[in-house]
Symmetry: C2
Subunit: 329 residues, 2 copies
Protein backbone atom coordinates (compact mmCIF):
# COMPACT_ATOMS: atom_id res chain seq x y z
CA UNK A 1 0.00 0.00 0.00
CA UNK A 2 1.71 3.16 -1.21
CA UNK A 3 0.76 6.70 -1.93
CA UNK A 4 0.23 5.63 -5.55
CA UNK A 5 -2.44 3.15 -4.58
CA UNK A 6 -4.26 5.76 -2.58
CA UNK A 7 -3.99 8.28 -5.40
CA UNK A 8 -5.36 5.81 -7.88
CA UNK A 9 -8.23 4.78 -5.64
CA UNK A 10 -9.15 8.43 -5.22
CA UNK A 11 -8.68 9.40 -8.82
CA UNK A 12 -6.21 12.12 -7.88
CA UNK A 13 -2.45 12.53 -8.16
CA UNK A 14 0.05 11.50 -5.53
CA UNK A 15 0.82 15.16 -4.94
CA UNK A 16 -2.70 15.69 -3.71
CA UNK A 17 -2.51 12.72 -1.42
CA UNK A 18 0.78 13.98 -0.11
CA UNK A 19 -0.84 17.34 0.53
CA UNK A 20 -3.61 15.96 2.63
CA UNK A 21 -1.10 13.78 4.43
CA UNK A 22 0.81 16.90 5.33
CA UNK A 23 -2.20 19.03 6.15
CA UNK A 24 -1.56 21.43 3.32
CA UNK A 25 -4.16 24.15 3.01
CA UNK A 26 -4.20 23.91 -0.74
CA UNK A 27 -6.68 21.10 -1.08
CA UNK A 28 -10.40 21.48 -1.58
CA UNK A 29 -12.40 20.22 1.32
CA UNK A 30 -14.11 17.78 -0.96
CA UNK A 31 -11.00 16.02 -2.20
CA UNK A 32 -9.52 16.10 1.28
CA UNK A 33 -12.47 14.20 2.66
CA UNK A 34 -12.34 11.70 -0.12
CA UNK A 35 -8.65 11.05 0.30
CA UNK A 36 -8.99 10.84 4.03
CA UNK A 37 -11.78 8.32 3.64
CA UNK A 38 -9.73 6.07 1.40
CA UNK A 39 -6.71 6.35 3.66
CA UNK A 40 -8.84 5.33 6.58
CA UNK A 41 -10.47 2.54 4.71
CA UNK A 42 -7.22 1.08 3.48
CA UNK A 43 -5.55 1.72 6.82
CA UNK A 44 -2.74 3.32 4.93
CA UNK A 45 0.19 4.98 6.57
CA UNK A 46 3.07 6.53 4.68
CA UNK A 47 6.39 4.77 4.57
CA UNK A 48 8.57 6.45 7.17
CA UNK A 49 11.81 5.67 5.37
CA UNK A 50 10.68 7.29 2.16
CA UNK A 51 9.52 10.28 4.06
CA UNK A 52 12.75 10.31 5.99
CA UNK A 53 14.75 10.23 2.82
CA UNK A 54 12.90 13.15 1.32
CA UNK A 55 12.95 15.30 4.43
CA UNK A 56 16.19 14.04 5.91
CA UNK A 57 14.34 13.58 9.15
CA UNK A 58 12.35 10.90 10.81
CA UNK A 59 11.40 13.05 13.75
CA UNK A 60 13.60 10.92 15.88
CA UNK A 61 15.36 12.22 18.96
CA UNK A 62 18.48 10.55 20.28
CA UNK A 63 18.55 10.05 24.02
CA UNK A 64 21.95 9.57 25.51
CA UNK A 65 21.81 8.20 29.00
CA UNK A 66 24.52 6.88 31.27
CA UNK A 67 22.59 3.96 32.66
CA UNK A 68 18.84 3.34 32.46
CA UNK A 69 18.98 0.69 35.12
CA UNK A 70 19.69 3.48 37.60
CA UNK A 71 16.48 4.74 39.18
CA UNK A 72 17.32 8.37 38.54
CA UNK A 73 18.07 8.00 34.86
CA UNK A 74 15.19 5.63 34.42
CA UNK A 75 12.81 8.21 35.73
CA UNK A 76 14.26 10.81 33.41
CA UNK A 77 13.98 8.52 30.41
CA UNK A 78 10.42 7.75 31.33
CA UNK A 79 9.46 11.40 31.62
CA UNK A 80 11.24 12.38 28.43
CA UNK A 81 9.74 9.52 26.49
CA UNK A 82 6.27 10.48 27.58
CA UNK A 83 6.76 14.10 26.68
CA UNK A 84 8.33 13.35 23.34
CA UNK A 85 5.53 11.07 22.31
CA UNK A 86 2.97 13.73 23.18
CA UNK A 87 4.55 15.80 20.46
CA UNK A 88 4.84 13.14 17.84
CA UNK A 89 8.55 12.63 18.28
CA UNK A 90 10.16 9.23 18.53
CA UNK A 91 13.21 8.43 20.50
CA UNK A 92 16.17 6.22 20.17
CA UNK A 93 17.80 5.35 23.44
CA UNK A 94 21.47 4.65 23.87
CA UNK A 95 23.10 3.85 27.18
CA UNK A 96 26.74 4.65 27.42
CA UNK A 97 27.96 3.68 30.84
CA UNK A 98 30.35 6.03 32.56
CA UNK A 99 33.21 5.86 30.14
CA UNK A 100 33.80 9.16 28.42
CA UNK A 101 35.03 7.56 25.23
CA UNK A 102 31.88 5.52 24.99
CA UNK A 103 29.87 8.68 25.32
CA UNK A 104 31.76 10.28 22.50
CA UNK A 105 31.28 7.20 20.40
CA UNK A 106 27.56 7.16 20.95
CA UNK A 107 27.12 10.79 20.13
CA UNK A 108 28.75 10.03 16.80
CA UNK A 109 26.54 7.03 16.49
CA UNK A 110 23.38 9.07 16.94
CA UNK A 111 24.61 11.61 14.44
CA UNK A 112 25.05 8.88 11.87
CA UNK A 113 21.45 7.89 12.44
CA UNK A 114 20.47 11.42 11.45
CA UNK A 115 18.51 12.09 14.59
CA UNK A 116 16.84 15.48 14.71
CA UNK A 117 18.30 16.37 18.08
CA UNK A 118 20.12 14.82 20.99
CA UNK A 119 19.07 14.90 24.59
CA UNK A 120 21.78 14.27 27.13
CA UNK A 121 20.64 12.88 30.44
CA UNK A 122 23.31 13.45 33.02
CA UNK A 123 26.73 14.86 32.37
CA UNK A 124 28.53 13.44 29.39
CA UNK A 125 31.75 15.11 30.48
CA UNK A 126 33.78 16.50 33.31
CA UNK A 127 33.49 20.18 33.96
CA UNK A 128 37.18 20.68 33.45
CA UNK A 129 37.39 18.21 30.62
CA UNK A 130 37.30 18.29 26.90
CA UNK A 131 33.85 18.91 25.51
CA UNK A 132 34.83 19.16 21.90
CA UNK A 133 32.78 16.08 21.07
CA UNK A 134 29.64 17.81 22.24
CA UNK A 135 30.59 21.06 20.54
CA UNK A 136 31.10 19.30 17.24
CA UNK A 137 27.89 17.39 17.50
CA UNK A 138 26.05 20.61 18.24
CA UNK A 139 27.26 21.74 14.86
CA UNK A 140 24.96 19.17 13.33
CA UNK A 141 21.90 19.07 15.57
CA UNK A 142 20.64 20.91 18.62
CA UNK A 143 21.64 19.34 21.90
CA UNK A 144 19.64 19.54 25.09
CA UNK A 145 21.46 18.77 28.30
CA UNK A 146 19.29 17.74 31.18
CA UNK A 147 20.92 18.49 34.50
CA UNK A 148 24.27 19.63 33.27
CA UNK A 149 25.52 22.96 32.11
CA UNK A 150 27.28 23.31 28.83
CA UNK A 151 27.84 26.78 27.46
CA UNK A 152 28.24 26.05 23.80
CA UNK A 153 26.48 27.25 20.68
CA UNK A 154 23.43 25.20 19.85
CA UNK A 155 23.38 23.41 23.16
CA UNK A 156 20.64 24.16 25.64
CA UNK A 157 20.90 23.30 29.29
CA UNK A 158 17.90 22.57 31.46
CA UNK A 159 19.01 21.98 34.97
CA UNK A 160 18.31 22.06 38.64
CA UNK A 161 20.26 24.21 41.02
CA UNK A 162 21.50 21.30 43.02
CA UNK A 163 24.22 23.35 44.62
CA UNK A 164 21.60 25.46 46.36
CA UNK A 165 19.74 22.32 47.30
CA UNK A 166 22.76 20.89 49.06
CA UNK A 167 23.59 24.24 50.56
CA UNK A 168 20.13 24.46 52.01
CA UNK A 169 20.42 20.97 53.40
CA UNK A 170 23.71 21.84 55.06
CA UNK A 171 22.25 24.97 56.59
CA UNK A 172 19.26 23.08 57.90
CA UNK A 173 21.52 20.49 59.46
CA UNK A 174 23.61 23.25 60.99
CA UNK A 175 20.44 24.84 62.34
CA UNK A 176 19.80 21.56 64.07
CA UNK A 177 23.16 21.66 65.74
CA UNK A 178 25.15 19.45 63.40
CA UNK A 179 28.62 20.89 63.18
CA UNK A 180 30.48 18.19 61.34
CA UNK A 181 28.68 17.12 58.24
CA UNK A 182 30.07 14.22 56.30
CA UNK A 183 29.57 14.48 52.56
CA UNK A 184 29.80 11.28 50.55
CA UNK A 185 30.03 11.79 46.81
CA UNK A 186 30.57 9.46 43.93
CA UNK A 187 31.64 11.46 40.93
CA UNK A 188 32.92 14.75 39.61
CA UNK A 189 30.63 15.26 36.68
CA UNK A 190 29.14 18.70 36.33
CA UNK A 191 26.35 17.79 38.68
CA UNK A 192 28.77 16.16 41.08
CA UNK A 193 30.94 19.23 41.24
CA UNK A 194 28.02 21.54 41.76
CA UNK A 195 26.90 19.51 44.70
CA UNK A 196 30.31 19.76 46.30
CA UNK A 197 30.28 23.48 45.74
CA UNK A 198 26.89 23.65 47.42
CA UNK A 199 28.22 21.65 50.35
CA UNK A 200 31.12 24.03 50.79
CA UNK A 201 28.98 27.10 50.46
CA UNK A 202 26.55 25.69 52.96
CA UNK A 203 29.31 25.19 55.50
CA UNK A 204 30.51 28.69 54.94
CA UNK A 205 27.05 30.17 55.22
CA UNK A 206 26.55 28.33 58.48
CA UNK A 207 29.90 29.46 59.78
CA UNK A 208 31.24 25.94 59.98
CA UNK A 209 34.80 25.07 59.16
CA UNK A 210 35.60 23.20 56.01
CA UNK A 211 37.71 20.12 56.52
CA UNK A 212 38.58 17.78 53.72
CA UNK A 213 38.33 14.78 55.94
CA UNK A 214 34.56 15.22 55.95
CA UNK A 215 34.47 14.98 52.18
CA UNK A 216 34.75 11.39 50.99
CA UNK A 217 34.48 9.74 47.63
CA UNK A 218 32.80 6.36 47.38
CA UNK A 219 31.51 4.43 44.45
CA UNK A 220 27.84 4.56 43.67
CA UNK A 221 26.58 1.50 45.44
CA UNK A 222 25.24 0.61 48.81
CA UNK A 223 28.15 -1.52 49.93
CA UNK A 224 30.85 1.04 49.21
CA UNK A 225 29.05 3.70 51.15
CA UNK A 226 28.30 1.36 53.98
CA UNK A 227 31.91 0.23 54.26
CA UNK A 228 33.20 3.75 54.06
CA UNK A 229 31.03 4.87 56.95
CA UNK A 230 31.99 1.81 58.96
CA UNK A 231 35.62 2.68 58.41
CA UNK A 232 35.14 6.31 59.38
CA UNK A 233 33.24 5.24 62.45
CA UNK A 234 36.10 2.99 63.43
CA UNK A 235 38.49 5.91 62.91
CA UNK A 236 36.23 7.86 65.24
CA UNK A 237 35.76 10.67 62.78
CA UNK A 238 33.41 12.95 64.70
CA UNK A 239 30.64 13.60 62.17
CA UNK A 240 27.14 14.35 63.33
CA UNK A 241 25.24 14.15 60.05
CA UNK A 242 25.70 12.64 56.61
CA UNK A 243 24.73 13.82 53.16
CA UNK A 244 25.07 11.44 50.24
CA UNK A 245 25.33 12.61 46.63
CA UNK A 246 22.91 9.83 45.70
CA UNK A 247 20.12 8.14 47.60
CA UNK A 248 21.79 4.78 47.37
CA UNK A 249 24.90 6.19 49.01
CA UNK A 250 22.90 7.73 51.82
CA UNK A 251 21.17 4.42 52.34
CA UNK A 252 24.48 2.61 52.56
CA UNK A 253 25.46 5.15 55.20
CA UNK A 254 22.21 4.56 57.06
CA UNK A 255 22.89 0.86 57.17
CA UNK A 256 26.31 1.39 58.68
CA UNK A 257 24.90 3.80 61.25
CA UNK A 258 22.05 1.61 62.32
CA UNK A 259 24.38 -1.38 62.62
CA UNK A 260 26.47 0.73 64.96
CA UNK A 261 23.40 1.86 66.84
CA UNK A 262 23.96 5.49 65.91
CA UNK A 263 21.13 7.85 65.08
CA UNK A 264 22.13 11.01 63.28
CA UNK A 265 20.52 12.86 60.37
CA UNK A 266 21.08 11.47 56.91
CA UNK A 267 20.10 13.15 53.67
CA UNK A 268 20.20 11.75 50.16
CA UNK A 269 19.94 13.14 46.68
CA UNK A 270 17.53 12.43 43.82
CA UNK A 271 14.47 11.65 45.86
CA UNK A 272 14.11 8.33 44.12
CA UNK A 273 11.87 5.47 45.11
CA UNK A 274 14.81 4.15 47.10
CA UNK A 275 14.40 7.00 49.55
CA UNK A 276 10.92 5.81 50.44
CA UNK A 277 12.12 2.26 50.86
CA UNK A 278 14.89 3.11 53.28
CA UNK A 279 14.49 2.69 57.01
CA UNK A 280 14.20 5.28 58.35
CA UNK A 281 12.74 6.67 55.18
CA UNK A 282 15.25 9.03 53.66
CA UNK A 283 15.01 12.79 53.46
CA UNK A 284 16.25 13.60 50.01
CA UNK A 285 17.08 16.54 47.80
CA UNK A 286 14.80 16.46 44.81
CA UNK A 287 16.35 17.70 41.61
CA UNK A 288 13.00 18.09 39.94
CA UNK A 289 13.20 15.71 37.05
CA UNK A 290 9.45 15.96 36.87
CA UNK A 291 9.87 19.60 35.85
CA UNK A 292 13.22 19.39 34.09
CA UNK A 293 12.22 16.75 31.59
CA UNK A 294 9.08 18.40 30.27
CA UNK A 295 10.93 21.69 30.19
CA UNK A 296 13.74 20.11 28.19
CA UNK A 297 11.36 18.68 25.62
CA UNK A 298 9.66 22.02 25.49
CA UNK A 299 12.91 23.73 24.64
CA UNK A 300 13.57 21.06 22.07
CA UNK A 301 10.31 21.48 20.22
CA UNK A 302 10.60 25.24 20.26
CA UNK A 303 13.98 25.01 18.59
CA UNK A 304 12.89 22.40 16.12
CA UNK A 305 9.85 24.43 15.17
CA UNK A 306 11.13 27.96 15.34
CA UNK A 307 14.87 27.88 15.07
CA UNK A 308 17.80 28.24 17.47
CA UNK A 309 16.72 31.55 18.94
CA UNK A 310 13.37 30.26 20.04
CA UNK A 311 14.47 29.01 23.44
CA UNK A 312 16.75 30.12 26.24
CA UNK A 313 20.14 28.45 26.31
CA UNK A 314 19.82 27.94 30.05
CA UNK A 315 16.81 27.08 32.13
CA UNK A 316 17.39 26.61 35.84
CA UNK A 317 14.96 25.37 38.44
CA UNK A 318 15.42 25.37 42.19
CA UNK A 319 15.88 22.12 44.07
CA UNK A 320 13.61 21.24 46.94
CA UNK A 321 14.08 19.04 49.94
CA UNK A 322 11.70 16.19 50.49
CA UNK A 323 11.61 15.66 54.20
CA UNK A 324 11.18 12.17 55.59
CA UNK A 325 12.11 10.33 58.76
CA UNK A 326 15.89 10.46 58.40
CA UNK A 327 15.94 14.19 58.97
CA UNK A 328 13.00 16.27 59.95
CA UNK A 329 12.83 19.98 59.50
Amino acid sequence: MTIYDIAKACGVSIATVSRVLNNSEKVSEKTRQKVLAVIQEENYSPNPFARGLGLDSMKMIGLLCTDVSDAFYAKAVSLVEHELKQRGLDMMLVCTGNDLNEKKKYIQFLLKKHVDAIILIGSPFREDGDNSHVAEAAHEVPIIAINSLLELPNVYSVLCDEASGIELAVRRLADNGCRNILYLYDNLTYSGQQKIRGYREGLEAAGLQKQDKFLCQVSKDLISAQQMVQRLLKQQLPFSAIIGSEDIIAIGAQKALSAAGIEIPVIGCNNSVLAECATPSLTSIDNRLDILCPAAVDVLTKILDNGPQAAPSQTVFPAIIQYRESFKE
Copy 2:
Protein backbone atom coordinates in the same frame (compact mmCIF):
# COMPACT_ATOMS: atom_id res chain seq x y z
CA MET B 1 28.74 13.34 1.34
CA THR B 2 26.95 10.60 -0.56
CA ILE B 3 27.82 7.35 -2.19
CA TYR B 4 28.28 9.29 -5.41
CA ASP B 5 31.02 11.40 -3.93
CA ILE B 6 32.85 8.34 -2.72
CA ALA B 7 32.44 6.63 -6.06
CA LYS B 8 33.81 9.64 -7.88
CA ALA B 9 36.75 10.01 -5.52
CA CYS B 10 37.62 6.37 -6.09
CA GLY B 11 37.04 6.36 -9.81
CA VAL B 12 34.53 3.53 -9.52
CA SER B 13 30.75 3.27 -9.78
CA ILE B 14 28.34 3.61 -6.91
CA ALA B 15 27.51 -0.07 -7.29
CA THR B 16 31.02 -0.94 -6.33
CA VAL B 17 30.99 1.34 -3.34
CA SER B 18 27.70 -0.19 -2.29
CA ARG B 19 29.26 -3.61 -2.59
CA VAL B 20 32.13 -2.85 -0.29
CA LEU B 21 29.70 -1.17 2.09
CA ASN B 22 27.75 -4.40 2.23
CA ASN B 23 30.74 -6.70 2.38
CA SER B 24 29.96 -8.27 -0.95
CA GLU B 25 32.47 -10.88 -2.06
CA LYS B 26 32.44 -9.69 -5.62
CA VAL B 27 34.95 -6.91 -5.29
CA SER B 28 38.64 -7.22 -5.97
CA GLU B 29 40.78 -6.77 -2.92
CA LYS B 30 42.48 -3.87 -4.53
CA THR B 31 39.37 -1.79 -5.19
CA ARG B 32 37.97 -2.72 -1.81
CA GLN B 33 41.00 -1.29 -0.07
CA LYS B 34 40.84 1.83 -2.11
CA VAL B 35 37.18 2.42 -1.43
CA LEU B 36 37.62 1.66 2.24
CA ALA B 37 40.44 4.15 2.41
CA VAL B 38 38.39 6.93 0.89
CA ILE B 39 35.41 6.14 3.09
CA GLN B 40 37.64 6.36 6.11
CA GLU B 41 39.28 9.51 4.95
CA GLU B 42 36.03 11.27 4.21
CA ASN B 43 34.43 9.86 7.34
CA TYR B 44 31.53 8.83 5.19
CA SER B 45 28.61 6.84 6.46
CA PRO B 46 25.66 5.86 4.32
CA ASN B 47 22.36 7.62 4.73
CA PRO B 48 20.24 5.37 6.92
CA PHE B 49 16.95 6.58 5.43
CA ALA B 50 18.00 5.80 1.90
CA ARG B 51 19.19 2.43 2.98
CA GLY B 52 16.00 1.92 4.92
CA LEU B 53 13.93 2.77 1.88
CA GLY B 54 15.76 0.31 -0.31
CA LEU B 55 15.76 -2.53 2.17
CA ASP B 56 12.57 -1.67 4.00
CA SER B 57 14.48 -2.01 7.22
CA MET B 58 16.51 0.20 9.43
CA LYS B 59 17.52 -2.59 11.74
CA MET B 60 15.39 -1.04 14.40
CA ILE B 61 13.71 -3.05 17.11
CA GLY B 62 10.63 -1.75 18.88
CA LEU B 63 10.67 -2.13 22.63
CA LEU B 64 7.30 -2.04 24.28
CA CYS B 65 7.54 -1.54 28.00
CA THR B 66 4.90 -0.83 30.59
CA ASP B 67 6.88 1.68 32.59
CA VAL B 68 10.61 2.34 32.44
CA SER B 69 10.56 4.26 35.66
CA ASP B 70 9.91 0.98 37.43
CA ALA B 71 13.15 -0.61 38.57
CA PHE B 72 12.29 -3.98 37.11
CA TYR B 73 11.43 -2.76 33.65
CA ALA B 74 14.31 -0.33 33.71
CA LYS B 75 16.72 -3.16 34.30
CA ALA B 76 15.20 -5.12 31.46
CA VAL B 77 15.41 -2.18 29.09
CA SER B 78 18.99 -1.63 30.07
CA LEU B 79 19.95 -5.25 29.45
CA VAL B 80 18.08 -5.45 26.18
CA GLU B 81 19.53 -2.20 24.93
CA HIS B 82 23.02 -3.38 25.66
CA GLU B 83 22.50 -6.69 23.95
CA LEU B 84 20.85 -5.17 20.92
CA LYS B 85 23.63 -2.71 20.39
CA GLN B 86 26.18 -5.48 20.53
CA ARG B 87 24.55 -6.85 17.44
CA GLY B 88 24.20 -3.65 15.52
CA LEU B 89 20.50 -3.27 16.18
CA ASP B 90 18.91 -0.04 17.27
CA MET B 91 15.91 0.27 19.46
CA MET B 92 12.95 2.50 19.75
CA LEU B 93 11.40 2.56 23.18
CA VAL B 94 7.74 3.13 23.86
CA CYS B 95 6.21 3.10 27.31
CA THR B 96 2.57 2.25 27.44
CA GLY B 97 1.46 2.35 31.04
CA ASN B 98 -0.90 -0.33 32.21
CA ASP B 99 -3.82 0.40 29.96
CA LEU B 100 -4.47 -2.39 27.52
CA ASN B 101 -5.78 -0.08 24.84
CA GLU B 102 -2.63 1.97 25.00
CA LYS B 103 -0.62 -1.17 24.53
CA LYS B 104 -2.58 -2.06 21.45
CA LYS B 105 -2.18 1.43 20.13
CA TYR B 106 1.57 1.36 20.58
CA ILE B 107 1.98 -1.97 18.90
CA GLN B 108 0.27 -0.45 15.88
CA PHE B 109 2.48 2.54 16.24
CA LEU B 110 5.65 0.46 16.11
CA LEU B 111 4.37 -1.41 13.12
CA LYS B 112 3.85 1.83 11.26
CA LYS B 113 7.45 2.68 11.97
CA HIS B 114 8.42 -0.50 10.15
CA VAL B 115 10.45 -1.89 13.00
CA ASP B 116 12.10 -5.21 12.25
CA ALA B 117 10.74 -6.87 15.34
CA ILE B 118 9.00 -6.07 18.58
CA ILE B 119 10.14 -6.99 22.04
CA LEU B 120 7.50 -7.00 24.74
CA ILE B 121 8.74 -6.43 28.26
CA GLY B 122 6.16 -7.63 30.70
CA SER B 123 2.70 -8.84 29.82
CA PRO B 124 0.83 -6.72 27.30
CA PHE B 125 -2.38 -8.59 28.06
CA ARG B 126 -4.33 -10.65 30.51
CA GLU B 127 -4.00 -14.38 30.26
CA ASP B 128 -7.70 -14.77 29.75
CA GLY B 129 -7.99 -11.70 27.59
CA ASP B 130 -8.02 -10.91 23.97
CA ASN B 131 -4.60 -11.16 22.38
CA SER B 132 -5.68 -10.54 18.84
CA HIS B 133 -3.67 -7.35 18.70
CA VAL B 134 -0.49 -9.29 19.33
CA ALA B 135 -1.50 -12.05 16.95
CA GLU B 136 -2.10 -9.56 14.17
CA ALA B 137 1.13 -7.74 14.79
CA ALA B 138 2.97 -11.05 14.69
CA HIS B 139 1.70 -11.36 11.18
CA GLU B 140 3.95 -8.48 10.24
CA VAL B 141 7.04 -8.92 12.37
CA PRO B 142 8.39 -11.43 14.84
CA ILE B 143 7.49 -10.68 18.43
CA ILE B 144 9.57 -11.63 21.43
CA ALA B 145 7.85 -11.65 24.77
CA ILE B 146 10.09 -11.33 27.78
CA ASN B 147 8.54 -12.84 30.86
CA SER B 148 5.15 -13.67 29.49
CA LEU B 149 3.86 -16.65 27.60
CA LEU B 150 2.02 -16.21 24.37
CA GLU B 151 1.40 -19.26 22.23
CA LEU B 152 0.92 -17.66 18.87
CA PRO B 153 2.59 -18.07 15.50
CA ASN B 154 5.63 -15.88 15.09
CA VAL B 155 5.77 -14.93 18.73
CA TYR B 156 8.57 -16.23 20.88
CA SER B 157 8.41 -16.28 24.65
CA VAL B 158 11.46 -16.07 26.84
CA LEU B 159 10.47 -16.36 30.43
CA CYS B 160 11.27 -17.31 33.94
CA ASP B 161 9.39 -19.98 35.78
CA GLU B 162 8.21 -17.63 38.47
CA ALA B 163 5.54 -20.03 39.62
CA SER B 164 8.20 -22.47 40.71
CA GLY B 165 10.10 -19.65 42.32
CA ILE B 166 7.14 -18.68 44.46
CA GLU B 167 6.34 -22.29 45.14
CA LEU B 168 9.85 -22.86 46.38
CA ALA B 169 9.61 -19.80 48.59
CA VAL B 170 6.36 -21.04 50.08
CA ARG B 171 7.86 -24.45 50.76
CA ARG B 172 10.91 -22.92 52.41
CA LEU B 173 8.69 -20.79 54.61
CA ALA B 174 6.64 -23.85 55.49
CA ASP B 175 9.83 -25.72 56.32
CA ASN B 176 10.53 -22.94 58.77
CA GLY B 177 7.24 -23.42 60.46
CA CYS B 178 5.18 -20.74 58.78
CA ARG B 179 1.71 -22.10 58.32
CA ASN B 180 -0.21 -19.05 57.25
CA ILE B 181 1.52 -17.26 54.45
CA LEU B 182 0.08 -13.98 53.31
CA TYR B 183 0.48 -13.33 49.61
CA LEU B 184 0.19 -9.74 48.44
CA TYR B 185 -0.15 -9.35 44.70
CA ASP B 186 -0.78 -6.38 42.47
CA ASN B 187 -1.94 -7.61 39.09
CA LEU B 188 -3.27 -10.50 37.07
CA THR B 189 -1.07 -10.28 34.03
CA TYR B 190 0.40 -13.52 32.81
CA SER B 191 3.26 -13.21 35.22
CA GLY B 192 0.92 -12.20 38.04
CA GLN B 193 -1.27 -15.22 37.52
CA GLN B 194 1.66 -17.57 37.39
CA LYS B 195 2.89 -16.31 40.69
CA ILE B 196 -0.48 -16.96 42.29
CA ARG B 197 -0.49 -20.43 40.84
CA GLY B 198 2.96 -20.98 42.31
CA TYR B 199 1.73 -19.76 45.68
CA ARG B 200 -1.17 -22.19 45.64
CA GLU B 201 0.95 -25.08 44.51
CA GLY B 202 3.44 -24.28 47.20
CA LEU B 203 0.77 -24.42 49.86
CA GLU B 204 -0.46 -27.69 48.50
CA ALA B 205 3.00 -29.20 48.32
CA ALA B 206 3.61 -28.17 51.91
CA GLY B 207 0.30 -29.62 53.01
CA LEU B 208 -1.03 -26.23 54.08
CA GLN B 209 -4.61 -25.21 53.60
CA LYS B 210 -5.50 -22.63 51.03
CA GLN B 211 -7.57 -19.79 52.34
CA ASP B 212 -8.53 -16.84 50.21
CA LYS B 213 -8.19 -14.45 53.09
CA PHE B 214 -4.42 -14.87 52.86
CA LEU B 215 -4.44 -13.73 49.25
CA CYS B 216 -4.75 -9.96 48.97
CA GLN B 217 -4.57 -7.56 46.11
CA VAL B 218 -2.88 -4.21 46.62
CA SER B 219 -1.67 -1.62 44.20
CA LYS B 220 1.97 -1.55 43.31
CA ASP B 221 3.31 0.98 45.73
CA LEU B 222 4.74 1.05 49.17
CA ILE B 223 1.87 2.84 50.85
CA SER B 224 -0.85 0.52 49.62
CA ALA B 225 0.99 -2.54 50.81
CA GLN B 226 1.83 -0.93 54.10
CA GLN B 227 -1.76 0.09 54.75
CA MET B 228 -3.08 -3.29 53.75
CA VAL B 229 -0.83 -5.06 56.21
CA GLN B 230 -1.72 -2.59 58.91
CA ARG B 231 -5.37 -3.32 58.29
CA LEU B 232 -4.87 -7.07 58.35
CA LEU B 233 -2.88 -6.77 61.52
CA LYS B 234 -5.71 -4.83 63.09
CA GLN B 235 -8.10 -7.52 61.96
CA GLN B 236 -5.81 -9.98 63.69
CA LEU B 237 -5.41 -12.11 60.61
CA PRO B 238 -3.00 -14.78 61.87
CA PHE B 239 -0.32 -14.80 59.18
CA SER B 240 3.20 -15.80 60.01
CA ALA B 241 5.02 -14.80 56.82
CA ILE B 242 4.47 -12.52 53.86
CA ILE B 243 5.33 -12.82 50.20
CA GLY B 244 4.91 -9.82 47.94
CA SER B 245 4.54 -10.07 44.18
CA GLU B 246 6.94 -7.15 43.87
CA ASP B 247 9.80 -5.96 46.04
CA ILE B 248 8.12 -2.64 46.68
CA ILE B 249 5.06 -4.42 48.01
CA ALA B 250 7.14 -6.58 50.30
CA ILE B 251 8.91 -3.49 51.56
CA GLY B 252 5.62 -1.79 52.33
CA ALA B 253 4.70 -4.90 54.30
CA GLN B 254 8.00 -4.78 56.15
CA LYS B 255 7.33 -1.19 57.16
CA ALA B 256 3.96 -2.10 58.60
CA LEU B 257 5.43 -5.05 60.47
CA SER B 258 8.32 -3.16 61.95
CA ALA B 259 6.02 -0.34 63.03
CA ALA B 260 3.99 -2.97 64.84
CA GLY B 261 7.10 -4.52 66.31
CA ILE B 262 6.51 -7.79 64.54
CA GLU B 263 9.30 -9.89 63.10
CA ILE B 264 8.23 -12.52 60.63
CA PRO B 265 9.76 -13.61 57.33
CA VAL B 266 9.10 -11.42 54.29
CA ILE B 267 9.98 -12.28 50.72
CA GLY B 268 9.78 -10.06 47.64
CA CYS B 269 9.91 -10.58 43.93
CA ASN B 270 12.25 -9.21 41.26
CA ASN B 271 15.37 -8.94 43.35
CA SER B 272 15.70 -5.29 42.43
CA VAL B 273 17.97 -2.74 44.00
CA LEU B 274 15.10 -1.95 46.36
CA ALA B 275 15.57 -5.31 48.02
CA GLU B 276 19.07 -4.35 49.07
CA CYS B 277 17.91 -1.01 50.37
CA ALA B 278 15.22 -2.41 52.60
CA THR B 279 15.74 -2.90 56.31
CA PRO B 280 16.05 -5.73 56.99
CA SER B 281 17.42 -6.34 53.52
CA LEU B 282 14.85 -8.25 51.56
CA THR B 283 15.05 -11.86 50.46
CA SER B 284 13.70 -11.84 46.94
CA ILE B 285 12.80 -14.15 44.13
CA ASP B 286 14.99 -13.36 41.18
CA ASN B 287 13.33 -13.79 37.82
CA ARG B 288 16.64 -13.76 36.01
CA LEU B 289 16.35 -10.76 33.79
CA ASP B 290 20.10 -10.94 33.45
CA ILE B 291 19.63 -14.22 31.60
CA LEU B 292 16.24 -13.61 30.03
CA CYS B 293 17.18 -10.44 28.21
CA PRO B 294 20.28 -11.71 26.44
CA ALA B 295 18.40 -14.90 25.63
CA ALA B 296 15.56 -12.90 24.15
CA VAL B 297 17.87 -10.90 21.93
CA ASP B 298 19.55 -14.11 20.96
CA VAL B 299 16.26 -15.57 19.82
CA LEU B 300 15.54 -12.36 17.98
CA THR B 301 18.75 -12.31 15.99
CA LYS B 302 18.45 -15.98 15.14
CA ILE B 303 15.03 -15.38 13.65
CA LEU B 304 16.06 -12.24 11.85
CA ASP B 305 19.07 -13.97 10.38
CA ASN B 306 17.79 -17.45 9.73
CA GLY B 307 14.02 -17.34 9.59
CA PRO B 308 11.18 -18.25 11.91
CA GLN B 309 12.29 -21.80 12.51
CA ALA B 310 15.67 -20.79 13.79
CA ALA B 311 14.66 -20.39 17.42
CA PRO B 312 12.45 -22.16 19.96
CA SER B 313 9.08 -20.57 20.51
CA GLN B 314 9.48 -20.95 24.25
CA THR B 315 12.55 -20.60 26.38
CA VAL B 316 12.09 -21.05 30.11
CA PHE B 317 14.60 -20.46 32.85
CA PRO B 318 14.25 -21.38 36.51
CA ALA B 319 13.87 -18.68 39.14
CA ILE B 320 16.22 -18.50 42.05
CA ILE B 321 15.85 -17.07 45.52
CA GLN B 322 18.26 -14.43 46.65
CA TYR B 323 18.46 -14.82 50.38
CA ARG B 324 18.96 -11.76 52.55
CA GLU B 325 18.12 -10.74 56.09
CA SER B 326 14.33 -10.80 55.82
CA PHE B 327 14.28 -14.56 55.49
CA LYS B 328 17.26 -16.81 55.84
CA GLU B 329 17.41 -20.28 54.52
